[in-house]
């Protein structure tokens, strides 16, 4: 590039500074959003790891029958054990504004625990009897504040206690979830910390009784020693850190979040490319005459192209770098929001994923470069005369048609608009694609929620035949579970829940659910194979199947400290309540019988509330859910995303409007002479302006039509991804669910018409005489 072109482009940059700033802001916004979203999950993961480290989340949890706390001292001396605590873990209920299932954890009152350390948010450690400390997440959800009194159900009845502290615990890193619940609902369980001696006394247990041990261990190696020390204990269940319910859910959420944010960030870049490209086309198009003059003066296509590449690199490079810099606080804000929402804590330092950082830094220059080369090439390839006069820009030469249709009433403005779109196929396609992508981006979120909601409703309607689902306060044997039966109950199906290690080619641990194969209150929806009939047959969940590739026909060895069993998998179910589904007798054999944590119940017509009250009177029952509650609880969880979805939809439409505005402006700019001629022929400003609006309407209509199958395709394509963490997910879309698409299309039409306004304003202000005569006067 010679120095005159260099000087010209520098001055050009100053002249078009507002336009350049606009393009830069777009790149900057796209890059900062892209990197910001990309850093959200790794930063949250880092925060989670830090929280786990600082708060000493237990590596191992062992629940036993009641035993002496003397065992803790022996366990602490096992090689590889860094710290161990013995505690009492009981299930009960508390009353505040409403009644809640509660996990009661009895701790040594002399000092807060070394394992699963409590982080005090309000108040402090208990001073004496009658005082409790509550987990803050569940307390907030139940409306319990510091200083409030709550009632706790003990063996001797309801006892009033004062809340002296509110804490976060790594065990309940998400909202407290009852791990024994058949269908756990986050936050529906209170976690109450009490002085150990007081709890022992309140439940009539001998002094020094505990039933749960939590460990911090060095990497591997400690377990064998622990089992040796506990060989004489009745172990009820064992949880490894990765299986601790809230922690496992967050890890799963983060892993899904990683792929989801990748998709969203990618879509942001695609749409941003369309917009940046259209901005550059507009910028270059306005300088068409100048490019023609440069060509006429003898400047080569290459040198002109290079001068615009220089301009593009300045605009794209600078904005990308600023975008990456801004992405740090944006990433911090995103991860703060995410971490606050999931971990109830502040986020750690932003963790920059190198790939996001590199793509973000390169996006601006590359996009601007590609956009400017495409845009400039369209003009520099013209002969100088064509560029100066504005001819040769209507697309390829027409092939001879020679066809004259019969005379009919025609709207010549519509004809003109349609013909223009057909001749300028490339630009029409670009705009239609930009509109379609924006509509897909905007409405995808709405349809996803509708699909989730419909999946929940239809799965519950098709598969769940029970009227009530009861969660038991603690694992019991079958006879004890069935003892809650009474008047009004038609059928009762106890459900066993236990953590098992599994082996076939690989190995790991999962939750096993045991029930009668013959029962009909909970039906399985199978993705492959058939339902089991024999005792040694089993089903695996869709997620388990995807993760482990264990499917129909495979043999699976299930192992617990209490026993092992070999089962043959007959099918894969969309059920999400467990990983492996086994016959109840197998579940009992793996757990000394005390394995039932809940039950499905069918009641006589009109007896629902009576049975519910009757069940809740039993201290054995922690919580009772109606089928409708389950549905509405799950639907509520989904609807909490609505605000984010609306914002996402609006941003998509806004981006689409900017692209429409740029492309329509360029299109009008290119056809100034034609518009001038229309005015000279006697077409009014309004009529000519209307033709521009008509073009926009046609483009948006095409974009909307294209978006529908595209949207459906994207939705179908994401089924497998969503099923990995929400197995019941299916794209069940009804006509009414497309309202979100309708809203987005409506907004696109509206903003599209607004976006056409600058172009119509240009036509309105056009000097017709100057335009049609090529600017001559004299």
């Amino acid at each position: 590039m010679n120095r005159y072109l260099f000087r010209k482009m520098n001055r050009e940059l100053v002249r078009i500074r507002y336009r350049a700033i606009g393009a830069s802001l777009l790149i900057l916004l796209a890059v900062s959003m892209y990197v910001g979203i990309g850093t959200m999950v790794p930063s949250a993961q880092e925060s989670l790891d830090q929280r786990v480290e600082i708060l000493n989340l237990s590596d191992l949890v062992v629940r036993t029958t009641f035993t002496s706390d003397q065992l803790v001292d022996d366990l602490r001396s096992v090689p590889g054990v860094e710290a161990a605590e013995g505690r009492l873990n009981l299930a009960s209920r508390v009353q505040a504004d409403r009644e809640l299932a509660a996990t009661l954890i009895g701790l040594d009152p002399s000092a807060p625990p070394d394992v699963d350390t409590l982080e005090f948010k309000e108040g402090g450690w208990f001073d004496g009897p009658g005082e409790v400390v509550l987990e803050k997440g569940s307390a907030d959800k139940a409306g319990i504040a510091l200083g409030d009194s709550i009632s706790l159900l003990t063996e001797s009845g309801w006892i009033e206690l004062i809340v002296v502290g509110l804490v976060y615990s790594p065990e309940f890193i998400w909202l407290p979830i009852n791990p024994q619940s058949i269908n756990p609902v986050p936050g529906n369980m209170a976690v109450v910390y009490l002085p150990l001696p007081w709890l022992q006394e309140a439940f009539g247990l001998p002094s020094g009784t505990v039933n749960e041990f939590v460990f911090l261990t060095e990497d591997g190696g400690a377990e064998a020693g622990i089992w040796e020390e506990m060989s004489e204990e009745n172990v009820l269940f064992v949880l490894h850190q990765e299986d601790i319910y809230g922690y496992a859910l967050i890890e799963e959420d983060l892993s899904q979040g990683d792929s989801m944010t990748g998709v969203i960030a990618g879509l942001i870049l695609i749409v941003a490319f369309f917009v940046v490209y259209s901005s550059f086309v507009r910028m270059v198009q306005e300088q068409r005459r100048e490019i023609g003059i440069l060509r006429a003066l003898g400047y080569s296509r290459r040198s002109i192209l290079l001068s615009y590449v220089y301009l593009a690199l300045i605009v794209g490079g600078v904005s990308s770098l600023i975008g990456v810099a801004i992405s740090l606080p944006i990433g911090q804000a995103f991860s703060d929001y995410y971490v606050q929402m999931t971990l109830n804590a502040s986020s750690a330092t932003v963790v920059l994923e190198p790939s996001f950082f590199i793509v973000g830094a390169l996006f601006g220059p590359i996009t601007a470069l590609v956009a400017s080369v495409i845009a400039v090439w369209g003009t520099v390839r013209l002969e100088p005369e064509q560029a100066i006069k504005g001819t040769g820009l209507v697309g390829r030469r027409t092939k001879a048609k020679g066809r004259v249709p019969k005379p009919r009433k025609a709207n010549y403005m519509l004809l003109y608009a349609v013909r223009k779109m057909v001749r300028q196929k490339g630009r029409t396609t670009l705009l239609v694609m930009a509109v379609a992508f924006s509509i897909v981006m905007g409405s995808m979120a709405f349809l996803m929620v509708a699909s989730f909601q419909n999946s929940i409703v239809s799965t519950i309607e098709e598969g769940e035949r029970w009227d009530l689902m009861a969660d038991l306060a603690y694992p019991v044997d079958r006879t004890t579970a069935e003892s809650v039966s009474g008047p009004g109950i038609v059928e009762l199906v106890p459900v066993a829940r236990l953590t098992v290690d599994w082996e076939d080619g690989g190995n790991g641990s999962t939750v096993a659910i045991g029930m009668d194969w013959g029962q009909d209150l909970h039906r399985f929806s199978l993705s492959q194979g058939s339902e089991p009939a024999a005792i040694d047959e089993a089903l695996v969940s869709y997620s388990f199947n995807k993760e482990t590739l264990v499917g129909a026909g495979d043999e699976l060895r299930l192992i617990t400290p209490m026993g092992e069993a070999v089962v043959t998998v007959t099918g894969v179910t969309y059920d999400g309540i467990g990983g492996v589904f086994i016959d109840r007798s197998v579940a009992e054999s793996l757990s000394l019988g005390q394995v039932y944590t809940g039950m499905y119940i069918e009641v006589q017509e009109g007896e629902l509330q009576n049975v519910r009250s009757q069940l809740l009177e039993s201290p054995l029952v922690a919580e009772v859910q109606e089928r409708g509650n389950l549905e509405s609880g799950m639907l509520d969880l989904m609807s909490s995303f609505n605000e984010i979805l609306y914002i996402f939809g609006f941003i998509s439409v806004l981006i689409s409007a900017i692209a429409i505005s740029n492309i329509v402006y360029v299109s009008v700019l290119e056809r100034r002479v034609e518009y001038g001629q229309l005015r000279a022929l006697g077409y009014r400003r309004k009529e000519v302006g209307r033709s521009v609006y008509l073009e926009v309407l046609l483009m948006v209509s095409l974009g909307s039509v294209l978006a529908a199958p595209l949207l459906y395709g994207v939705m179908e394509g994401m089924v497998e991804t969503f099923r990995a963490f929400f197995p019941m997910y299916r794209t069940i879309l009804y006509v009414q669910d497309w309202y979100g698409y309708g809203v987005i299309v409506g907004m696109t039409f509206l903003l599209g018409l607004l976006a056409a306004w600058p172009a119509t304003r240009m036509i309105s202000r056009m000097d017709v005489a100057k335009t049609v005569t090529g600017g001559r006067f004299g």
């Binding site: 030469r397 027409t398 048609k401 020679g402 003109y416 001749r423 034609e674 000279a680 006697g682």
Partner: protein
């Protein structure tokens, strides 16, 4: 058509230029007037004023008794649609419309009946010698043929006044001459008044009257009715 003391002044910062500087003249209905003059003499500005594309700074312009100078944008637009036909140097055809549609798009403002619209368009295309080319697009035609389309488009509306601004400026000499002959023939056939601006001095041979402009003024006229 009557012009009285018409002035058009353009301002450029502190400078002002009188592109048309006090022109008065009258043109008879059905006449063929050629305006000659060097660049910057005010030829195109004069045509723009007569056609209602721009208003004069001062003076009076009357076409068929109507005052063009005082017309607002809406009225001037309507006036152009009803009374003026244009032929430009660069043809100004719509590249995305066929030859026939290029003629019809202007005429559609006047004639609503599709049959009549079609027959009138075909009639004028035949008149300019483009019979059989109706379905072609402008870029499939030669420069001379394109200008013929623009003549047919202008005349199909049967305007009172045909304004031609350098109609052959973009054509070779031979083709240019045939276009001038065509304009003259059509002027005789249809009785439409034609005012054409050109640099080509030989165009005067086709004219009833020739105006020579210099520095925004009529320097001299030739032919019947010369009075400026």
């Amino acid at each position: 058509m009557v012009l009285k003391d018409v002035v058009k002044e353009y301002r450029n910062g502190d400078r002002s230029v009188k592109a048309v500087n006090g022109i008065s003249l009258s043109i008879d209905k059905g006449s063929f007037v050629v305006v000659l003059g060097p660049s910057g003499s005010g030829k195109t500005t004069l045509l723009n004023i007569i056609s209602g594309l721009v208003g004069p700074t001062s003076g009076e312009v009357r076409v068929s008794g109507r005052d063009i100078a005082g017309m607002g944008d809406e009225e001037a637009t309507k006036f152009r649609a009803q009374s003026i036909g244009f032929v430009f140097q660069f043809f100004n055809l719509f590249p995305t419309l066929t030859v026939l549609e290029n003629v019809e798009i202007g005429l559609a403002l006047k004639i609503k009946d599709p049959q009549e619209l079609r027959s009138r368009s075909l009639q004028y295309l035949k008149m300019v010698g483009l019979e059989g080319m109706e379905g072609k697009f402008p870029d499939q035609l030669s420069g001379g043929e394109q200008q013929r389309v623009s003549v047919a488009r202008a005349l199909a509306c049967e305007p009172e006044l045909l304004i031609a601004d350098e109609p052959t400026g973009n054509l070779d000499a031979e083709t240019g001459e045939t276009v001038w002959a065509l304009l003259r023939d059509l002027n005789k056939q249809t009785g439409t008044t034609v005012i054409a601006v050109t640099h080509w001095a030989e165009a005067a041979d086709f004219a009833d009257r020739t105006l020579y402009l210099r520095s925004g003024k009529v320097e001299r006229t030739a032919g019947p009715g010369a009075e400026a």
